[in-house]
Subunit: 429 residues, 4 copies
């Protein structure tokens, strides 16, 4: 369980903090305040036995001294990738913190993701003031618009230089953070003093070294509503099967957590736990014959090995994954027909309805604090890092570490064991 | 506007009502209480000019004398066709009214629609008592299960005879009511005294002579949520188009009403108003180029003439309609590609999530009164009729009249005019 | 049941309509289109027997010719009295209709009710453009603020003259409409051409000749949530009594309708049905002893005769009514103590939480059409009238008629009979 | 910051675990798996410096060997104190885990709190089977009913002996846990082998050594709705003040967290941070005069020192606290009157509506796992402990430790600092 290699949580800095923070409140965080990466007694004892300091992360929060002079600082915010509940909350929290905590006067919103940093698209930046972000937190989506994919790094840093941006906040997932790292490296190469702070956005909650990402709780709450519908459909007809596809390309956190908050799911299929079509279909049939109906949740990234056989490739030559939901829908129908068992299958894919929601109460508070802590970090000249959260504490995580892999469900973990005990499915299908 | 032929609202009866109602309350309805079918001054004046009584419907409600002896009566309830919000409310209202208002002691629930009346399926009926229906109104779907299609009429009446049922409540749509009429006719043929009362179930609100059907309000409220998601998707990307498919095979009431309760829809396509693909696509492109995004609602039965060309037929030889939502999704994509305009299209189909909801407050109250009135009608020996609602009054409508056509949106009506003025779309596309 | 005196539905006009409507759509309403006031066959027959035309109301909607020249017209909107779901929807609908349907360019919002028409308060009007009302319909309350009470009529008309307002929309209840009538009369006295259109706002749904007012459906839906809470409290403890006070000063529509959409209420007390304290307390005790708990809904205006005995008077000398909710809370506690029966009483008053909600889907659509129809009426020079709704049709109702009394629940009606059969309470307590 | 005295997390046991667990799944927890109590690097280093093992808690979860023989074991569940979202989820999780994970066949629900263990009340226990708890998680409140206060310990243990209960689950707060400790001690005194497992229930989230309690998230989400209403009222009138009282007798977690998830609160008053009436009123007046309105949240236990002056005492001689909400309502009104400033004050107390809600998605999943872990702990013969949760891990906490004080908000903490920066209020009022 204990890694051989210790993760390196060292955060990059643009320079020394010499400017007293304008924040009046007590409760500054000192740089030496750190939270343990692992919180088991065994892991700490292992470190001690090896004569090492247990790995730990910086605790986020306002510092007594800052790097940037707020009166001269210009900041920019960009939202990239898919829509996620809470995007507007984060934008608003960053703007309000920059203005009210630090007295920054210029904050720009870049339109449509990294396109907004690329002059070839001609998207004019919008000025973000406290008035401009009033009430945006009550709305789903992002007021800045978004786009997928990265742009030319040189061009993006050119734009930052031209706009005289000192601090860039990039709200996005794995790909966005890779872009942010690229920008940060190019900034260093050019000897600029531009901080790059990532705010991790992944509705799937799959970013490494970060316990929880915003929007996840809202997504699970809405996924529970979809599970309700799926169960009503499954129980409303003879031999009813409700098949619900949920988000989760690399990891099944949404699917697994949804199982735990709804009591009616019988099968949960996630990317981390492979299954055979034969095993799954036989178990499904058995369930339907015994109980008259079944509810199945499948994460979008589950069973991708079953789909590779299709042999399709996209324009770039990459294997194109078929839609696991539609694939299973078809496979189940065929199987029941072959077995001559009546089947009333309903397939539900609520992804867009989920991700477009405004943040719920939990995520609203979380986004607020996440945005504040991103600003606190940025003002101290920290860079190439993401605002993280672990063990109930906001943290700093180096971007290179955060994108060094994907957070996944451990099939041996208590979480997955709880899922199995709730669905009643076999651990191997 | 005034029909040449007057609708015949005469309700069939099993016999004379001789038994005093056990209901203690004042407020009985007299048989001569009738509500006008048309409520415009002009229509009444036209009737008078023709020397005719203006057409009118019986007002529903408890009568002073009833036909059936509650102490001996056995009743049955069946739910048929697709799931609709409020099914369980209606079941519960019927059971409670039979027990508490009249003292009936035996009510059976037939399982899985008309299959439950056909011995070949072997579905055992369940006994429905006040305890058995406690709290079912808080759940979506139907506790009885449902199925589509009719069964052999002779077989169904055999079952009613064997079970000694005096009063059958069939909750279902157009097809179900046709089945109910068949049962009623067979009952007459055999000289039996079995009442058949329909409760009109159509989430599309498309049954003739009935102003409002249960579940419709709940459906529109949830459709508004889906429209919200569609709009967030459309505005979240450059040249975003949100395409939302809503229920409505024969009529577009859900789509049209949803437009009125959400302010962000730009095109609404319904079965009653034909459109050309060319006209729609050109208008859509124009809107996207001018405003950067567009939201489209399409009812599932819209534009079927565009799809007939596919030439596919189902097992019975009927023309099989392709899915208009997927068809438009593909057509829009192709068109924008041809025009070399970027497109970010999101397609949302929330039908199952909508129809599986529990009834909202409005529908709960409506279902309660509808169920009560169905029981009141049945206890008086009325038969071959449905429990209706018009101009704020619960009514009786003969089944043959209710199934003589479909209620549709008049493109010249105020409703459609309001939709056009809200979307801003041209009246002809 | 048939009134001796026929209500006079004649609408005042500022002058003849000579200007062609800029609305392009078909579907104009002709002035002679009228909807019957009473829709029973008997009432029509009674009129005919008396040789009279059955009483009827103008059907609302766009006309082919209008009175005001949109290019020169200035309009004003004011919201008065208590907050009600849908206020912002109505404001927005009026503004959008004036701008988009007619091309009006100047619309002012007056702040804080009639205070905004009184120069002594110095509230500057705000300009209402389509941009200014974007998205306000998603928010509860009123963006204009509100206040109670009327201001000096002369002063208010002075302000209208000074601002050169041609059309005033007053959104408010009984008192507000009285103020509107006063303004309209003063306008006539001065020979001015200022139209005054009321939009009836009463969460209690108690305005005469108007079947439904906006916000009512939203209020009932939230009242159902409060009833849920009340029932959980009542059943969560031995001898639990949940006492829920709902809005309804003069009429009990909210309370009665809430009973119908929640199945757990045992007593419903409304202003229209007097009760004795002794009778109610004895029935409550009996219920608690038999069933272990009870849920009581009391409308705020119920049982006021029981409270007059307090003899308190307010500054103006009016009898001050004590709070019936707190009064009953205390009376129940005393009674159970005297009878030495354990009591766990919980008192819930959700009024503010209810009335501050945004409109639900149903009310959103209703407010949109109501606002449109108010504009259509105003543009034709109609004045001293309110935008009404009866039998599924939007109508025009003269203000003097609308404020000639209060709409109340008839204790002999089907509505109250349904309430009694749902609660199981005696018709006389 | 680091305690001088180390908390003693040693858990009592009834005896040695010799029976192999019937659970088939992998993923058993070993007794030596422990999670650190403090997760800062500094605290661990301090322990090491003192030559001590850092304080840690047992990790909860299924063990390979258990103490009780499931085939012979009888269990009982009791819910005590106020209603809290999730009670039924916990009951259901315990029942399902006992039946499905372990094969226990007899589980009793004791009615109305500890009264159900006292024969003088004569409440018959109800048998809890998987069927009996089907769907109860969708309902607010507790199906077992509840009561406040403890009963005679001897009598309660008599009842446990008579019923032959081996394992008692007590779901309740501080007082209930004190009762549970008493039962546990009496059990030891009599040499019995009855395990007592507490499940901490505190909507206020104020139990020591337990990071999160069930129902808290649901409460905050609903409190956000109430804050919305409060803000609409405050902004809807001139000089509007919305005063919202929330739960929180000893600690202000609900109030503070609600501030973070709603952006419109201007003052937050909690028990942990004293304020002077003069300071608060002056700040409130200043805010109202500057901004035209204000929103105030007050936790029910805030400012109790201001109220002691009333001098009232209850039957037992304890100082009776007046209601801080009503007290402030009156104080604000008086102050504004004295200052001759108009005031439109609305007071909202949504406590019952909040606590009666069913658990939201987050709490549903949390209750499920909490219930499972309580069962796992109980089956191993652990006793006199509560099922806890810290740093993302379910834990075991000795009851005596959990009731040794109250968890409170540290005014120097990041949480409170975030609240201050959100409301903009001074740190001292």
């Amino acid at each position: 369980m204990i890694e051989e290699q210790y993760p390196d949580f060292t955060i990059s800095r643009l320079g020394e903090c010499r400017i007293p923070s304008p924040i009046k409140r007590r409760g500054f965080i000192h740089d030496e305040q750190r939270v343990l990466f692992r919180t088991t007694l065994a892991s700490v004892q292992a470190s001690i036995a090896q004569g090492k300091e247990p790995p730990s992360m910086e605790v986020a929060g306002a510092r007594e001294k800052i790097y940037f002079d707020p009166s001269k600082l210009k900041c920019a915010i960009v939202t990239c990738g898919g829509i996620c509940p809470g995007l507007n909350d984060v934008i608003r929290a960053i703007v309000l913190s920059l203005f009210h905590h630090y007295g920054v006067k210029k904050v720009f919103g870049l339109k449509y993701g990294y396109e907004g940093l690329s002059y070839r698209y001609g998207h004019a930046p919008v000025e973000l003031t406290p008035d401009a972000v009033e009430g945006i937190n009550e709305k789903g989506g992002t007021i800045l618009g978004s786009s997928r994919g990265n742009q030319d790094v040189g061009e993006m840093v050119d734009t930052l230089e031209q706009m005289n941006i000192g601090l860039l906040f990039t709200i996005g997932g794995d790909g966005t953070l890779k872009g942010a790292r690229g920008i940060s490296e190019e900034v260093t190469r050019r000897g600029l003093k531009i901080g790059v702070i990532g705010i991790p956005k992944t509705i799937d909650n799959d970013i490494l070294y970060i316990e929880k990402s915003f929007g996840f709780e809202t997504a699970v709450a809405e996924a529970k509503r979809a599970t309700y519908a799926t169960n009503v459909e499954a129980t409303g007809a003879r031999n009813g099967v409700g098949l619900l596809k949920l988000m989760g390309r690399e990891s099944g956190f949404i699917s697994a957590t949804t199982v735990l908050c709804d009591s009616n799911v019988n099968f949960c299929l996630i990317p981390e736990v492979p299954f055979t079509l034969k095993g799954f279909l036989a178990a499904l049939l058995e369930r339907v014959e015994k109980r008259g109906h079944a509810v199945v949740i499948v994460a979008e990234g589950a069973g991708q090995d079953l789909l590779q056989a299709t042999g399709e490739r996209d324009a770039s030559g990459n294997v194109r994954f078929a839609d696991i939901g539609l694939f299973l829908k078809s496979a189940i129908s065929t199987y029941f027909r072959e077995k001559e068992v009546e089947l009333n299958l309903k397939y539900i894919d609520p992804s867009y309805t989920i991700r477009t929601l405004p943040a719920n109460a939990h995520d609203s508070a979380f986004c607020l604090l996440l945005g504040h802590n991103a600003v606190h970090a940025g003002m101290t000249g920290r860079t190439n890092m993401v605002a993280g959260f672990s063990h109930g504490t906001f943290t700093h995580v180096p971007i290179p570490l955060a994108i060094s892999g994907r957070k996944k469900i451990d099939p041996e973990s208590g979480l997955w064991s709880s899922v199995l005990s709730t669905t009643g499915q076999e651990s191997t299908l």
